[in-house]
């Protein structure tokens, strides 16, 4: 099975306290720690397990700038065979549809049976997989938490409300967005990363992909971000302050009043 996994470099929510910049229109990005989108690690792990069973190879691809190369190397250290970086000034300002258009062009250069994305990334849209599938006219299933390959088809489980699972049969080639929990992504150590440190990762731009610059990037974008802000949601929580002992004492009084003790 030839598998393409789409991955995205995102600010790590566990490692950062997000602050606005001094103009208040963007995140203060100077000290942000980035990593690969959590969901994408599950997608790569799933691809590795499928290839271990059925043979084939795995390519990881991302649309991003030079720094995005590091997430490709990380996923190659996990076990992906090839990496491709799609990068071009013309891609800047792309909206979700723009990113999907760029990825589609790369898909058409290969011969993939299965394309995996994460269920969602940092922007919480969960859009790229479904768009890519519709552009390619491939079938699609989102929030996949089980994959059982069979001949020319696969059985997939989708996670639906309440943790129930919807089983489907889907023809190949197809696009699936992978939900966390489908597997336990393997750990990548420094040694693994070192092993792939010098592997060549091709970089492709709009020209290489045969993309018209007007269809992607700012020019093709219908969705544009204006600014970031911190919403005023009224009072929020009453913050308990003081020493730990004082806080515990105040909390116990409240818990008693509310039926918590």
């Amino acid at each position: 099975m030839e598998i393409l996994v789409c991955v995205k470099r995102v600010p790590d929510t566990a490692e950062n306290e997000f602050e606005l910049n001094s103009e208040g229109n963007d995140l203060d990005r100077d000290d942000l720690v980035y990593s690969v989108n959590e969901w994408d690690n599950y997608a790569v792990e799933e691809a590795i397990q499928i290839v271990d069973n059925l043979g084939g190879s795995i390519t990881v691809v991302t649309v991003g700038d030079d720094e995005a190369e590091e997430v490709l190397r990380r996923e190659m250290a996990m076990g992906a065979n090839n990496g491709v970086l799609l990068s071009d000034e013309a891609f800047e300002g792309s909206d979700g549809k723009g990113i999907a258009t760029i990825l589609k062009a790369e898909v058409e250069k290969g011969n993939y049976d299965l394309i995996l994305t994460g269920a969602q990334a940092d922007e919480g849209a969960g859009q790229i997989g479904g768009m890519l599938a519709a552009m390619l006219d491939y079938p699609y299933a989102s929030l996949v938490n089980k994959i059982e390959p069979a001949d020319g088809k696969i059985k997939v489980g989708r996670e639906i409300e309440g943790g129930n699972q919807e089983m489907n049969e889907i023809e190949l080639p197809c696009v699936l967005s992978i939900q966390t929990g489908i597997n336990e992504p393997r750990y990548v150590g420094i040694r693994g990363i070192r092993k792939v440190a010098s592997v060549d990762i091709p970089v492709k731009g709009a020209g290489d992909l045969g993309l018209d610059a007007g269809s992607v990037g700012e020019a093709g974008a219908k969705i544009k971000r204006v600014d970031y802000f911190v919403p005023d949601l009224g009072d929020g929580a009453e913050m308990l302050e003081g020493s730990t002992d004082e806080i515990v004492e105040k909390l116990i009084e409240k818990l008693k009043a509310k039926g918590g003790l």
Partner: protein, 321 residues
């Protein structure tokens, strides 16, 4: 005039709550817009829900086809693509079905796409002003959406105020216009979630742990606090993904819906998928070491501390009572 279509999900002939939230969202897009509900399905359930919806919408389009008896997103997408006029705005719920349907629908309708919208700030010409969240709710953002060729927008369930049904609309049957509904994906069955050893939905007090628990061995600390409080331990999704606790302990849209009196959120950031599983307006206590954690916006009481130190301190004080 802006034409807005709301795709209404339903189960067993009953519309999901979001059916009452679409009209409010539509009004915030354009107060003068015409809003039409669209329901797809088959047989008596479909007729029942379509009838109910005429109390909320002046027009309800129904598309009846056996291929949609279970909502298969690929089939529904084909039907909608044939029925929604070019340039329209389509509202879809940002739930597990909406996530399956909407991105591809926007491609087939050749319209713009914005997901998980939490607010609208009107239209300027054909440019829609949208509010979204990113990074698990840590920041909000204003985005503009060029809707000149239409737009597919998913809205977050539970964020727009519900309207009361006072309309007396009509059902329009467009089953004949659905077109070819063949699909490359076939629905097989729904496998129900396993029932666990502990039923967190029965407990009045939950000590709920998130990724802030850091290590499987630390779960004991939460269990001891729960024991002292006469509470039960529940958790957020990453704890279940890591297989540290069983799925039946997970609170959220893809886990259990709980209605406790007191909810202690320990090292949980407060994503909408987690908070979506907490109903009945409990007293929420959030302990988080990050003073900017989104959970502090929705909790009743907030404490900025390390849970690994705070939980034992609280346990000790409770045991000394």
């Amino acid at each position: 005039m802006t034409q807005i279509f709301a795709y209404v999900p339903f189960k067993n002939g009953v519309a999901e709550d979001v059916a009452l939230e679409f009209p409010g969202a539509a009004k915030k897009i354009d107060a003068g817009a015409s809003v039409t509900a669209v329901v797809t399905g088959s047989g008596a359930d479909l007729d029942k829900v379509a009838g109910e919806l005429t109390k909320v919408y002046s027009e309800v389009i129904k598309i009846d086809n056996a291929a949609m008896a279970y909502p298969n997103a690929e089939v529904v997408r084909k039907a909608l693509t044939n029925i929604i006029p070019a340039g329209a705005i389509v509202l879809v719920a940002h739930d597990t079905f909406g996530m399956d349907l909407a991105p591809g629908l926007s491609i087939k309708l050749e319209s713009a796409y914005a997901a998980d919208v939490v607010d609208f700030e009107g239209m300027d010409g054909s440019t829609l002003k949208i509010v979204r969240q990113e990074l698990g709710g840590a920041v909000s953002t204003h985005v503009t959406c060029d809707a000149s060729a239409g737009a597919v927008l998913t809205i977050r369930p539970g964020t727009f105020a519900p309207v009361d049904g006072s309309a007396s609309g009509a059902v329009v049957d467009k089953s004949g216009d659905a077109g070819d509904l063949s699909a490359k994906r076939t629905f097989l069955e729904v496998v129900e979630a396993e029932v666990g050893e502990v039923d967190i939905t029965k407990s009045d007090v939950l000590v709920s742990i998130g990724r802030g628990i850091e290590d499987e061995d630390n779960i004991e600390i939460a269990q001891e606090l729960a024991d002292a409080m006469g509470a039960v331990v529940s958790c957020s999704r990453p704890i279940v993904d890591a297989k540290w606790l069983e799925k039946s302990r997970q609170v959220g849209t893809s886990g259990q819906t709980v209605k406790p009196k007191v909810y202690m959120a320990m090292g949980i950031s407060g994503s909408f998928q987690h908070m979506g599983g907490i109903k009945g307006n409990p007293f929420i206590v959030a302990v988080n070491k990050n003073p900017k954690a989104p959970i502090f916006q929705v909790a009743d009481v907030g404490i900025v501390e390390d849970i690994l130190e705070f939980m034992p301190a609280l346990q000790e004080a409770i045991e000394a009572l």
